[in-house]
Amino acid sequence: MFNRSQGKLESRQAGSVSPGGAGQVAPAAPPLAGRRPPTPSLEPLAASEFTFDHARHLIWRAGFGGSPAQIQTLTRWGLDKSLDMLLNFEKVADEPVGPELFKADVIRPRTQDERDRQRRAARERDEDTLAEFRLKVQQREREDRDQMRRIQQWWLTRMVETPRPLQEKLVLFWHGHFATNYRTIEDSYHMFAQNRLFRQHAAGKFSELLRAIIRDPAMLAYLDNNDSRKAKPNENLAREIMELFALGAGNYTERDIKEGARALTGYTFRDDEFYFDKPNHDTGSKNILGSNGGIDGDGFVDAILRQPACATFITTKLYRFFAHDYPTGDKPFDAAAGRVIKDLADRFRADYDVEKLLRRLLSSRHFYDGRLRGEQIKSPVQLIVGAVRGLRVPPRDLGVLTDASDRMGQSIFFPPSVKGWDGGRSWINTSTMFVRQNLMVFLLTGRRPQGRDGLADRERFDVTSLLRELGDALPNAGTSASSKEQLDALCRFVLGTPEPTGRAVLDKFIADRGGALSEKNLGDALLLLTAMPEYQLC
């Protein structure tokens, strides 16, 4: 999975390897009522315990899922090597994301000449010239929206194709964390530059990312810091850094915000670059979170990083994104999760090293506990990217995919507010349920989720390689296996459990359609499987 010819290598080798434990079906989960709480242990899972099901869990949470062959490769590698490949992604070659990938000056400041001409026209009440200027602005805005749409599609494509799934998953995490909306800032290149920033710091030090974000033009514009004046500081950025980006409510005072806003005065941008507007910066003495002095933006960030609440806040957010939505209302469960978060945060506080934190979490017995597996509702982006990566459906029309993602509640680069996406159950309602199911129909068959049949994408989904990979990865799914074993394997791969609620219906479907899983009925079987509630989970 770690090169562009996804899965080819793995497929070739697949038949000759018999990974330990991969063939065994994990015992079905007991009913929820009265289930034991998950282990709070951060000890690494023993190598012998790492099966196909664990590898599947890992690649869904630390990435966007994978094909049977990819999951089998991780199983064969074992936990340590799999984590190395996922976390040390700099060592994996990927297409660079250079600043030149998109046009920087679709939106740009007016030139001196333009300013002069416009001023003259205003003075002379030259309506034609003024109208011409207005028209030009509108043209630029339109062009910029087009570029934004292309950037959206580019990122979605990158998530589908990348050999560094965890890096892109973290970019998505930071985008939701430092949520900035194009709708407000209306400069696609600034959104792109911010996306590059998240990629650069994806698994790096949170402290460095926080220092970078107060210099990020998109963020500075989004939270009005470019309008902050020494005489009249704008508190928006200082407030959100404390409340939403680093500390959480209750861990600062209104005075800290006021003083923090003073520290951030003068932090602005010119065109596409950070600019420190020195005359506009308040150099006076400030008192922020117990730190004193002529604190500037970096000093403000340092004062925040010294707060114990900071590590807890970021750890909790990472835990919720990668491990489990929290809290659940189930006390023993929450107690275990709380302990894990505390243990992780205690070490994170020392260095703010995201990679180290994730390595501990993603290798822990807690992370692989049965109660955490298959209990996360896929975000719309996870659903789309995961389907293309895992089922190997044709990628199809990107416009339809970003459109569907929006209708499922997640439009990348357009988070609903500075709080980002709420996630979890907020993704799901009667309307989005059909969009989710019908998006899968589109990917599997080419039938558009909205609109006319004439527009259908008729590229066939070839199930041959999926069927072969499934047989290789889970030997009991091969052609010699019983239909029950085949369906067990298919359900394990697609739904994460051999016993989904509607299993009897699937058994009947296979019985009615020739009695065995085959190229003839796998496509239709997948239509049913992807419409099941378990498919929305990972």
């Binding site: 909306n181 407000t184 970003t402 507010s417 159950r425 009667t430 589109f442 006319r452 099941m532």
Partner: protein
């Protein structure tokens, strides 16, 4: 894209697909809904049997449904199940050629080739304004006392970008940020399938009462408009009700029975699971979606009760009328018509703009005839808006550029009929644009507090004096 972003004015109508109203002639009545869930899970079950076979939450909701039809009232003459229909005119409707300022020379001077001659404008009793001659539908509504014209509606520091200004109208916020105003209405009322029905955490089963069964808003169109998007409640959006369903069975008909069986299996399990696993939550939502889809598709497939004029908007409104007739528990419907961005050759008495205003006026006229025949007209308030009006003076291409204030229309027996406030001045202009005299949010406030009996201040996140456009109802 968030509907606010790259909304092309005419997209919604352009993509509106064919009509299927003759597909089924099953009549649908108010009683049907009460039985749909049970029918879905096995129509032959009696309630007693259902108490064992049907999950508790479903049984409760089946029992909890009201038995009365649309006429259900507690105070005589005051309908309880009030509905608002929003019509969005996308592209910036030219207000000055819609509601004509009679006898004002400044109007004719500014628009030498596109102004509507005074003699041609449709007179409204003794009002100082007339209607575009193509708007005979609205003239009839006026004569019946069903039309209110609010003039000079806008907001401070008008934005002339379609996208930005539309977002401002959708969010009721001049910075164009935040959730939609109708979305916030649903969130604050905490109703709708989206959250009240499925989206709630454990223990909400018991509170699945009638109110929780009020459906989220329904938007006819490709995208859910930003206006209807809330935090908790998301609207249902479809171009054609036939697509508000699992499309896998359109791909292969034989899959339908398996899909149905899967949905039932999930529902069965959902009732048994103690606690609140995500899979059970998803199963419940899938079932709700299925039931909701069946209701909506049956509703719009019902036999048409009357003939509507041609055009996409009339089709949308006919669908809405069918859903109201079927007594869906939806309080907000959203329809739209595009093409109002008339920069060139917009015409006067005839031509492009005439065709557009004629279209929405006759479509709404037919809609209210239909509602009256159903006995539902008193339940339905329709509000018409556009993201901005156009400049007072015509441009060099016999069209008009993006402007500011424009009229809004409110329709229904609950409105105070007539052109309430005066036409904005054509002499005291702001750089060639009309100055607004009514903030659009005071019209929203009136709709929310006066009609929907909701807390307008909380929803609009500010205090706006409700525009006096509704009777005391």
């Amino acid at each position: 894209m968030a509907s606010g972003e790259w909304r092309v004015a005419s997209d919604w109508s352009r993509y509106l697909i064919g009509w299927w109203m003759f597909a089924s002639s099953t009549m649908f009545d108010a009683q049907t809904e009460a039985f749909t869930r049970r029918q879905f899970l096995g129509g032959s079950l009696t309630l007693a049997a259902a108490s064992m076979a049907v999950p508790a939450f479903l049984q409760r909701s089946a029992l909890g449904l009201p038995q009365a039809g649309p006429g259900m009232t507690s105070i005589p003459g005051v309908p309880e199940e009030r509905i608002i229909v929003v019509l969005q005119l996308s592209g910036g409707n030219d207000g000055l050629n819609t509601v004509i300022p009679l006898g004002q020379s400044a109007y004719y001077k500014a628009r030498p080739s596109i102004a509507i001659a005074e003699a041609k404008a449709l007179r409204l009793g003794g009002e100082a304004v007339g209607l575009h001659p193509a708007m005979t539908g609205f003239k009839e509504l006026y004569d019946e006392g069903l039309l209110s014209i609010v003039q000079g509606v806008g907001y401070p520091n008008p934005n002339r970008s379609h996208f930005k200004s539309m977002d401002i109208w959708h969010t009721a916020d001049t910075t164009a940020t935040g959730d939609g105003w109708l979305g916030r209405y649903f969130d604050s009322e905490c109703c709708g399938f989206g959250a009240g029905e499925s989206g709630q955490a454990p223990g909400t089963g018991a509170s699945r009462d009638i109110k929780a069964l009020v459906q989220p808003g329904i938007a006819i169109g490709r995208d859910a408009p930003l206006a209807m998007r809330g935090r908790k409640v998301q609207p249902i959006a479809f171009e054609s009700a036939d697509l508000f369903r699992w499309t896998g069975s359109l791909e292969d008909k034989t899959l339908a029975s398996y899909y149905e069986a899967l949905t039932k299996a999930d529902a069965g399990a959902a009732g048994e699971v103690v606690g609140d696993a995500n899979s059970a939550f998803l199963g419940r939502t899938a079932l709700d979606a299925q039931v909701s889809s069946d209701l909506i598709r049956k509703a719009v497939a019902a036999k048409p009760r009357m003939t509507y004029p041609g055009g996409p908007l009339a089709q949308q409104l006919q669908m809405v009328a069918s859903m109201i007739h079927a007594n869906l528990r939806t309080r907000v419907y959203y329809v739209s018509l595009g093409g109002f961005d008339t920069h060139a050759g917009q015409g006067g008495e005839n031509g492009r703009h005439a065709q557009l205003v004629g279209q929405f006026s006759s479509a709404i006229g037919a809609f209210y005839k239909d509602l009256k025949a159903q006995g539902n007209d008193a339940r339905v308030l329709t509000m018409v808006f556009s993201e901005f009006g156009r400049r007072v003076g015509q441009n060099g291409s016999a069209g008009t550029d993006h402007g500011t204030a424009a009229p809004m229309f409110l329709i229904g027996p609950m409105v105070k009929p007539g052109a309430a406030n005066g036409h904005p001045s054509l002499k005291d202009l702001d750089d060639g644009d009309l100055r607004f005299t009514v903030d659009f949010r005071s019209v929203y406030a009136s709709v929310l507090s006066g009609w929907m009996k909701a807390d307008a201040d909380a929803i609009l996140e500010g205090r706006y004096q409700p525009a006096p456009v509704l009777k005391k109802v």
